[in-house]
């Protein structure tokens, strides 16, 4: 009789695992959310290695659209017309709306950060450009 009372109301020997499970569940969710990260990006072409800078006149003849990033990324030109970062996307959209040839050349000064080039590529992609070719300004 005394023993059974002790057994009934006595201390429980099981560890309380509920908080432990809560922590586990949160960690599990965190890792599950991080994992399915798929890389994203934009495909570009690299034209034949340019031994010298392609003169603007030739590009004009080809009627290619050239985006040029200059002066450390402060100036961005579309066919030598400074449009600025704010006007780039609109300008490209205007050009490519009625254009069958969805290709573009992206040019940049040597010392321009890669992020500005990507910004220009991104704007071109947003304007519906399909083929993006990278060029660099080579100084002789």
């Amino acid at each position: 009789m005394g023993m059974s009372t002790g057994g009934g109301g006595g201390p429980k020997s099981d560890i309380n695992v509920t908080p432990y499970i809560d922590i586990l569940l949160v960690l599990l969710i965190i890792f599950m959310v991080i994992t399915p990260f798929t890389p994203k990006g934009i495909f570009v072409q690299v034209p034949e290695k340019l031994e010298q800078d392609v003169p603007q006149e030739i590009l004009d003849k080809l009627k290619g659209i050239v985006v040029d990033v200059k002066e450390g990324g402060t100036i961005v030109e579309v066919n030598r017309d400074n449009v600025g970062w704010g006007g780039l996307q609109a300008k490209l959209q205007e050009i490519y709306a009625g254009r069958a040839d969805k290709s573009i050349f992206v040019k940049g000064d040597k010392d321009v950060f890669y992020l500005y080039i990507v910004q220009a590529i991104d704007a071109a992609k947003g304007a519906g450009v399909e083929q993006i070719s990278l060029m660099t300004e080579l100084e002789d």
Binding site: G8, T35, G41, F43, Q45, D109, F113, I117
Partner: protein, 138 residues
């Protein structure tokens, strides 16, 4: 007496959570181990863009993933290549085993365009002219 007995060895209303905890722990360990492995190549501060396409193949271990960190060191996956010719050779070698026909380029945002083009030309010389620039979503 019968009632007392029931109280002592009676039905336990708590759910037995131990097996659940076991399974969760195993899942947790699996995710913890696979997460760093799934990181494609080097960790760099990628530039950001808005008009991106998915590149699930870039995660494929067979993909040719060239990286460049802010110090302009070139990598294939996470293996650094000090010598450019060696990297070119390695890309050429990998190209023969790769059906994708394209390379992926992961580059720090604060690298000069000159270095970027130099790296891309190297890949181009190795016979791959379609290059996927890996970019973070804005």
């Amino acid at each position: 007496m019968a009632k007392k007995k029931k109280a002592v060895s009676g039905v336990n209303s708590d759910i037995n959570v131990t097996p659940m905890a076991d399974i969760m722990l195993v899942l947790l360990i699996i995710f913890m181990i696979t997460t760093p492995l799934l990181q494609s190549g080097i960790t760099v501060n990628l530039p950001r863009g808005a008009n991106l396409v998915d590149m699930p193949e870039a995660e494929d271990r067979e993909a040719i993933l060239v990286g460049m960190d802010v110090e302009r060191t070139l990598f294939i996956w996470d293996e650094a290549f000090g010598d450019r010719d060696e990297l070119k050779k390695q890309v050429e070698y990998l190209r023969d085993f790769n059906a994708q026909g394209q390379a992926y380029f992961k580059c720090d945002a604060k690298v000069s365009y000159e270095s970027v083009v130099a790296a891309l030309e190297l890949i181009k010389e190795a016979g791959l002219d379609q290059i996927g620039l890996v970019i973070d979503e804005k």
